[in-house]
Amino acid sequence: MAKAAGVVAAIAAAGVLIGFYISGYLVGNTKVFRPTAQGRSVHLTIETVAAVGPQLAPHPDWVSYLVRDTSGHWRRTTIWTLPAHALVHVTIYNFDSASGLRNPLLGRPTGLVGSELVDGKPLTVLPPDQPSHTFAVPELGVLVPIAPVADDAKNTCGYAPCPLSNAHRTITFTFRTGKPGHYRWQCFVPCAAGFLYGFGGPMQTVGYMDGFLNVV
């Protein structure tokens, strides 16, 4: 009897350990955000920040994308559910300064409906020393370079969430989602300072500079 109890206890302990182990791998998921759609049209409001801050993430110094939810709060989630064959109108407020592209090709916006507007002016190409980030969905051919806040700007944002009263650039553009699928999006600017080739940390962790578009 004692033996059986011991074995049952051992199995239970193993189960707890395994559950704990799995949970270690599942924590990296961020919550899915679903913007409200009007027919075949969706508005997304995003901000890109130089440091995500201690409130929103375990790594306060990492760069990150944030998205504005329906109640107007900035949330750190990069998995967005969007309707298929829809027009997505995106507004990005960028609070970060320039990092520069390694491949200047990626300064040319592609795959958009209409053109990319930076502070209301259409953009043909962003010179390679300027982008602070890009918003890119390679499978949809979408690539949007994001213009930087000037290095000498006043009132720059420290830790996110950043209010619009801080120095920022406004980028607006529209793209079409296409057929249902699970598309990754990422940033192509080596903006993860302190990591080799600027591509570690936030650039390799979903929830900061990478995410998914769940097109349904």
């Binding site: 491949n103 190409v125 080596p190 080799l196």
Partner: protein, 286 residues
């Protein structure tokens, strides 16, 4: 080597002969069947001269390997059925400790197979480089390599882009190649190691930072092909895929013209065409 009695001396009951006959008969039947029916199923198809060679090579390999496979499987089946112990008590078998003749035949047979395989593979490789990346100074080039068209594949985390040095050094995000042309692909990387795998073209070449990895491919007719990254390169390795196209010459000309117009504004910002780029590592330095 050994002084123990030879197999036949113990009991000349025909086990050895029966096995050898079964092996020969089954090999003779199976080998051509495998070569004819399994061989053509092998990848990567007939998308390029290199892909075609690989299928040919794979067909030969599988045909050569059929007899050894038949040997081991038939041997095991025969032995397990014939020599299973039929008594409940533990009975010893005959104390055979070796046979120099069998050993010599085995060594000769495996040696011949191995040398043939290596010779055959080398011959196939030397002919054209077989579509693999060969580094900056390819040792094995196909005929007419000096007139090949250069295309640069630039891998970065996590996308391939392509440069056409003979068309004003324009860089584009998708690969289109002209049909029936010998292409010299220069594969390089701007950060981690990637591997450019154009599956239907039979091309695979690692993209290393600071290295010009050259692979030759002779395209055939118009087709589309899949491109994957085949070397673990970080978070989006599994999503680093794309589709490329082979189109006939006139369509290629109009396509490249269109690309030069669209990407015209960015060409002036591109670095001068070079076989390698050495980006600033942006170390975690103080």
């Amino acid at each position: 080597m050994t002084t123990a009695p030879r197999d036949g001396v113990i009991a000349n009951d025909g086990h050895g002969r029966r096995f050898v006959i079964a092996f020969i008969v089954l090999s003779v039947i199976a080998t051509p069947l495998v070569a004819i029916f399994v061989g053509p199923l092998f990848p990567p198809g007939n998308g390029s001269a290199q892909a075609h060679e690989q299928v040919f090579d794979n067909t030969w390999l599988v045909a050569i390997m059929t007899p050894p496979a038949v040997f081991v499987v038939v041997f095991l089946l025969y032995a397990l059925v014939s020599f299973r112990s039929r008594s409940a008590a533990v009975v010893d078998g005959p104390p055979i400790r070796g046979d120099a003749r069998i050993q010599a035949v085995w060594m000769a047979a495996t040696g011949i197979i191995v040398l043939f395989l290596a010779g055959f593979g080398s011959y196939e490789l030397v002919q054209s480089g077989s579509g693999g990346g060969q580094g900056p100074n390819p040792a094995f080039t196909p005929a007419g390599a000096s007139k090949a068209m250069d295309v640069q594949v630039i891998a970065q985390q996590w996308e391939f882009t392509y440069r056409y040095p003979s068309y004003g050094g324009v860089e584009v995000p998708h690969l289109v190649l002209p049909a029936n042309t010998l292409i010299r692909l220069h594969v390089t990387s701007l950060d981690a190691i990637h591997s450019f795998w154009a599956y239907q073209l039979g091309v695979k070449a690692d993209a290393n930072p600071g290295v010009d990895n050259v692979a030759y491919v002779q395209t055939k007719g118009p087709m589309t092909f899949d491109i994957h990254c085949a070397e673990l390169c970080g978070l989006w390795h599994g999503y680093m895929f794309d589709t490329g196209q082979v189109v006939d010459a006139s369509r290629f000309a109009s396509w490249i013209k269109q690309q030069r117009t669209y990407f015209g504004p960015v060409v002036k910002y591109l670095p001068k065409y070079s076989t390698i780029y050495l980006p600033d590592p942006q170390r975690r330095a103080g």
